[in-house]
Amino acid sequence: MISVAHLTRTFGSLRALDDISFEVAKGEVVGFLGPNGAGKTTAMRILSGYLPASSGTVKIAGFDVLRESLEVRRRIGYLPETVPLYREHRVVEMLEFQARLHAIPRKERASRIDKALEQVGLTDRRRDLVGNLSRGLRQRAGLAVALLPRPEVLILDEPTSGLDPMQRLEVRGLIRALRDEHTVLFSSHILPEIEAVCPRVVIVHKGRIAADGTPAELVAKLAGASHVRLEAVVGADPAAAQRILRSIRGVRDVVDHGRLGIHHQFELACDEDLREDVGAIAASRGWALRELSWRRPTLEQIFARIATGASDEVERPAGPARAPAISAPDAPIVLGGLSAVPRASTVHPTLQPTVQPTVHPTLQPSMPSTAGTAPQRTVYNLNPFDRGATRSLSVPKVVEDPNAPPASAGPDPDASGAPRS
C-alpha cells in the first residue's frame, strides 16, 4: 500500500531523511518510532504529499505522491501533529468542509459525518466550537476529519501527544479499531504506546531506519537492556551474593548498586523474566526481599544502544560466559563457584560500563581458591517454573558451595550477618 524507496530529504545542509526505504502492506498497522528530530514528521509530510522529497520515490496505493498527487490525496487521511481545525467553526462544520473537499455525495454526507463522530466518541460535542474543545477532544475531532473520507491509508503524526493517560488509552483503542478498515501509519516517541497498538515498528534515528520489525523482535535485538532488579538484605557479603546471582542461568551480568540502609541493590542483566529464579535463590538463602522486579528496555535505552553503534545485532556473550555446569539439562541453580574475572572479559564491553564492586576490599571475606575444598550443602530448587528443570523437585540436589564459610555451617550464613558500615 505504501512503498518508499531511497527517500532522502534535505533542508539546506541538514539531512532530515537519509535513504529511507520500507514497504507497508495493505491492512498493516505500522508504528513510526523515534526521538524528537529523528525525521518522523518529515517522513509523514512527504508521505502525505505536503513536502516533496529531495530524491527517491514514494508510492501510495500505486500512485506516485509527487506526480499523481491528487489521486494520492484522495486516498489518504492525514492528521498532522498540530491538529488542523478552524477554531472558529463547530466540529460538525469542520466535517462538512472536509466532506465537500472530498466531494462526498450530499446524500451520504450526514450519515457519514454521524458515523465519523461516533467512531471518535464526539457525537454529543458535535455542536461545540473547535476553539472551546480541550486538547484531547480536539485531537479526536481531527481524527474524525481524517477518517471521514474513509481513506485507504491513514497517516497520523503523534496522535497521542499532549493527551492525558485516559485519552491516550482511548486514542490507542481507536487506532486498534481502525486496523480492520485502513492501513495505518502512526508516529510516536513513546515505546509502550507503539507496542500496545502496532504489530510492526519502524525505528527512525537521525534520518535513517535504525530497526524495523515487531516489538518482540526489537526487544530481542536489545538483549541486555532488560534487567531484573533485586533489593534485599543479603548479609555481610554482597560480593558473594553477586556471584550467586550471576550464576543464575540466563543472567549475563550482575551490577551491584550498593547498600541502601540494610538492603543491597542488584541489577541482573538478562533477556527473560528471571524473577522466579531470583526469588527462589533469595528464599533459599533467606534474603529478606524488599523489591524484585523486571524492567524492560525503555526507548532511551534502545536509542542509547542504536546510537552507540551496536546498530542491528548486539553481540551477546557466547557460551563460555555461562557456567559449564548449567549446560546440563537437569542442573539446578549453581550457587557461586565462578570467578568474576574471566566472566567480565567475555561480556561485551558496551553492555556493562559500570561493573564495580562496591564492597570495600578489606571487608570482603577471603575466598577459597578452589571449589573442591568447600563443604557441600543441600539446596532445594524452590522454583517450580525453573526453565529446563526435568528432575523431580522433591529430590534435593547436592552442590558445592564455596561461599559457605566453614566456621558457620548454619543454613543461611549470609542472612545472619548484621549490616556493617
Binding site: 504529499g49 505536503y50 516533496p52 490525496r73 489518504i76 498540530t82 472558529e88 472536509q98 465537500r100
Partner: protein
Amino acid sequence: MRGFLAITRRELAGLFVGPLAWALLFIAVLLQGWLFVLYLKSLGGDVDLALRWTLGESWVYWALLILVPPLLTMRMISEESRTGILEFLLTAPVTDAAVVTGKFVAALVFLALLWSGAFVYGLVVASLGVPPDWGTLFGGWIGAVLCSGLFVGVGLFASSITSTPIVAAFGAIVLNLVFVTAPLLAGLSDQPWVRRAVASVDVIDHHKGAFLTGVLDTSYVVFFVSWSGFFVFLAIRAVEARRWR
C-alpha cells in the same frame, strides 16, 4: 472545481463568524453613507455625480481600497500556515491553485458586498424621487469590484510570503500605496517615458477613465483581471514554495 467552491464557502463562513468582517463592513458602510450625504449636499444634489464620488472619484474610496483588502486577506494564508491548517488544505484533494483562488474569490465577494452599498443609496434617492442612472451605477460597481480584485491579489500575495498576519497586512498596505501613489510620483518627473510607463499601470486612471463613466471597456477589464491574475499567480507560487522550504 468542487474543492474550490468548498474553500470559497469556508472562507466566507470564516470571515463572517469572526468580528473582523462585520467591523470592516460596519465602518466602511457608515463612512460611505455619511460621505454620500455630504457629497450630495456639496454637489448641489447631483445624484449621479455623488454616486461616482462614492465609487471611485473621491480619495476615501481609494483609502478604503488600500486598507480593507489587506485586513481581509492578511490571515488567509499566513495564519493557516502557522496553525497547520495549510498543511491540511495542501494534502486535501484540491490543487494549490484552487486553495488560493478560493480564498481570493471569498475576499472579492466580501468587497463586492461592501461596494453594493451604493445600490442602496441609489434606491434611497430613487424612492425620494430622483432615480439615478442605473447603468452608470452598475458600471461603477463592476469597476469597483474589478479594482478590488487587484488589491485582494496583492493582499493574498503578501499573506502567502509570511507567517505573521500583521506583517502581511503591513506589506500589502505598502504595496497598495505604491500602486495608488505611483502616478502622483511620476507627475514629478519630466521624462515622458516615465510618465508613459506609469500611466500603463495607473489604477486610478483606469478605473475613473472607463467604469465610472458607465463604459465597460474590455481593455480596461483585461487590465484589472490580468493584474489580479498576476498577483494570484504569485501567491500560488509562494504557497507552493512553502513546500520546498
